[in-house]
């Protein structure tokens, strides 16, 4: 085989590989675009339909927005056609529960993780193993006993019952522990002891600031989890003034057949997901990074 013919074969091979790559890329991008359209279509319909009147929604479908957005907004906020919808109190309750829960989860998970990481007390290893073991137990098992206690003590319909349990969050503890292991040198704590800092103050003033990136990620995740939580709150809260947004949506669903203004239903859905969507779109990069750091070992 001469050199010339060899290079011709090589060229052909190269060209074939290039064409193959181009075809593969076309297929890949088409696949991605189809999936993107599929995902976004739900949100598109949601936004478009929140701008339509009840009559428009009940007649013909169109992909174009209408002009009833503010009417629906004001209706949903001030003149809801469903007795269950009270956006203001729903938002207020959800916000109280989600904010306090996520703050408590983050603070006490960090404190617990720091306690296990930085000190050598008796039984430390057993405790560390214990927390890992309970991480596996689905929270659902507690629901029967929890409701029984809450009913007996007459503490249902109280928001703090939804908030306080978040102090013990094994998964967040695990994440914080991993983070401390990777970032906090024990010498630093020694140094602050030399300066005469009290151990608790050392945690608040030196350790917590170091954990800021981890706290930010876990704050978002625990906030979203609490904001979206439906099962336990649904069992514990019956008072209409105490319902959080997911419970409200559940009640609205049972109420939704025919009686309720359709435009308002779309608007209520939009409003209840909007805060999380906005935060997500701003912080999506770090949120997506945070997904794997907690769930995959290593």
């Amino acid at each position: 085989m001469t050199n010339v013919s060899k290079s011709v074969v090589d060229n052909n091979k190269n060209r074939n590989a290039k064409i193959k790559l181009i075809i593969e890329r076309i297929i890949s991008y088409s696949f991605l675009i189809v999936l993107t359209v599929f995902c976004l279509s739900f949100f598109y319909v949601l936004v478009i339909n929140s701008t339509k009147s009840n009559d428009e929604l009940n007649s013909v479908f169109s992909l174009l927005p209408s002009k009833y957005f503010f009417e629906n907004l004001i209706g949903a906020l001030f003149h809801p056609t469903s007795q269950y919808v009270n956006i203001f109190s729903g938002f207020k309750n959800s916000l109280i529960v989600a904010l306090l829960s996520s703050v408590l989860t983050c603070y006490f998970s960090s404190l617990t993780a720091y306690g296990v990481y930085a000190y050598n007390f008796k039984g430390k290893r057993i405790i560390a193993a214990f927390i890992l073991a309970i991480m596996m137990i689905p929270s659902q098992l507690a629901s029967v006993g929890f409701l029984k206690i809450a009913v007996d003590l007459r503490i249902t319909d109280q928001l703090w019952v939804l908030i306080v349990p978040s102090i013990a969050a094994p998964a967040t503890y695990f994440y914080m522990h991993q983070y401390l292991k990777a970032t906090l040198p024990l010498e630093l704590i020694e140094a602050s002891r030399m300066d005469g800092s009290n151990e608790f103050m050392t945690f608040n003033r030196i350790v917590l600031p170091i954990m800021k990136p981890a706290l930010a990620v876990q704050m978002i995740f625990s906030f979203v989890a609490s904001w979206n939580n439906y099962y336990m709150p649904g069992l514990l809260i019956e008072d209409d003034n105490k319902t959080t947004l997911p419970i409200m949506l559940g009640l609205l669903r049972s109420d939704a057949i025919g009686k309720v203004d359709n435009g308002q239903i779309w608007m209520v859905i939009l409003l209840s997901i909007l805060p999380v969507v906005i935060v997500y779109l701003i912080l999506s990069r770090s949120i997506i990074k945070g997904v794997t750091s907690g769930s995959v070992k290593g």
Partner: protein
């Protein structure tokens, strides 16, 4: 002598510091015992008792009845011979599988695509943001959204009617209700799975891919012989956690069917069953169902633990 006392002093000092570790973990454990462990033990405890509300304010029990609650669960209620718990367990499993199969298939394709240096997909940040978005949205809001979209006068039916078809009652037919629940779970979770699998693939030694490429291995061969075997532990971990999550399925079917599991309880899940029994304040029966679910998830968790600790 001096040295010894100094050493002792230091030891003593260290011990006094270590006490703080215990103080710091106290709040976590107090809350855990009060709000999780004791309720869990009570759940198990009541599962062996006859204890339910007969009418408002009138409770029967608690009377110890051993395993009777468990036995009753596996007895057919009526002449048709259906055993509720098995039916609901079957519903849950079917709906989980129908959603999980496309979820894992598509997540795997996406993960391979995104990590391929040859394809070098642009705009990954955008795509990942879109695919993960449904996961941060309230399941209850998403379910109500699906209910609206597929309702009798929803956009899908309007399109069908516009094209000369008849209105389809998506929410009254077994297959379509189940399919909608599975689809909702799929949409909510495939982005999450993609991201976890991607991290798994990125954890594989890059030089393995490099040498395979130099040897002229095809993309499929690289996937089959390098990516998949090395991704297996994470893939299985993901799959079993998804299965555990799937068994706890509640929000989506509950909201979509207004807690009814329509039609004819064919979309009612185990946790919907617990929820219903618990709302009626039957602590014994709901405790027993919870225990059964717990044992099943426990076995699955054990498998996860075994797999993740193997390497």
């Amino acid at each position: 002598m001096k040295a010894i006392s100094l050493e002792r002093k230091e030891k003593k000092k260290k011990v006094t510091y270590d006490r703080w570790g215990l103080y710091f973990i106290i709040p976590f454990f107090v809350v855990y015992f009060l709000f999780t462990l004791i309720p869990q033990l009570l759940t198990i405890f009541y599962s062996f008792f006859e204890y339910y509300r007969k009418t408002v304010g009138v409770y029967i029990g608690p009377n110890f009845i051993g395993f009777q609650n468990y036995v009753n669960l596996f007895k057919p209620i009526d002449s048709s011979g259906t055993i509720d718990i098995l039916k609901y367990f079957g519903n849950t499993t079917i709906m989980w599988i129908v959603g999980a199969l496309p979820q894992f298939l598509i997540a795997l394709i996406l993960a391979v695509m995104f990590t391929s240096t040859r394809l070098n997909v642009k705009g990954q940040g955008f795509f990942k943001t879109v695919f993960y978005l449904p996961n941060v949205i309230m399941a209850s809001a998403f379910s109500l959204l699906i209910f609206q979209v597929f309702g009798r006068v929803g956009p899908i039916n309007q399109i069908i009617v516009m094209n000369g078809g008849n209105t389809v009652d998506f929410l009254r037919q077994k297959t379509s209700v189940r399919a909608l629940i599975a689809m909702t779970n799929f949409v909510m979770w495939f982005g999450n799975t993609t991201i976890v699998l991607m991290a798994g693939i990125q954890g594989i030694d890059e030089s393995l891919f490099e040498s395979a490429r130099i040897d002229g291995a095809s993309s499929f061969k690289v996937f089959k012989d390098i990516t998949m075997p090395l991704l297996k532990p994470i893939f299985i971990y993901c799959f079993i956690t998804s299965m555990i999550g799937g068994l706890q399925m509640f929000d989506v079917p509950q909201i979509l069917t207004a807690g009814q599991g329509t039609p004819d309880f064919t979309s009612k899940t185990i946790v919907m069953f617990i929820n219903e029994v618990l709302r009626a304040k039957d602590y014994g029966k709901s405790g027993a169902i919870s225990m059964i679910l717990f044992i099943i998830t426990g076995i699955l968790s054990l498998i996860v633990y075994k797999i993740t600790n193997k390497d």
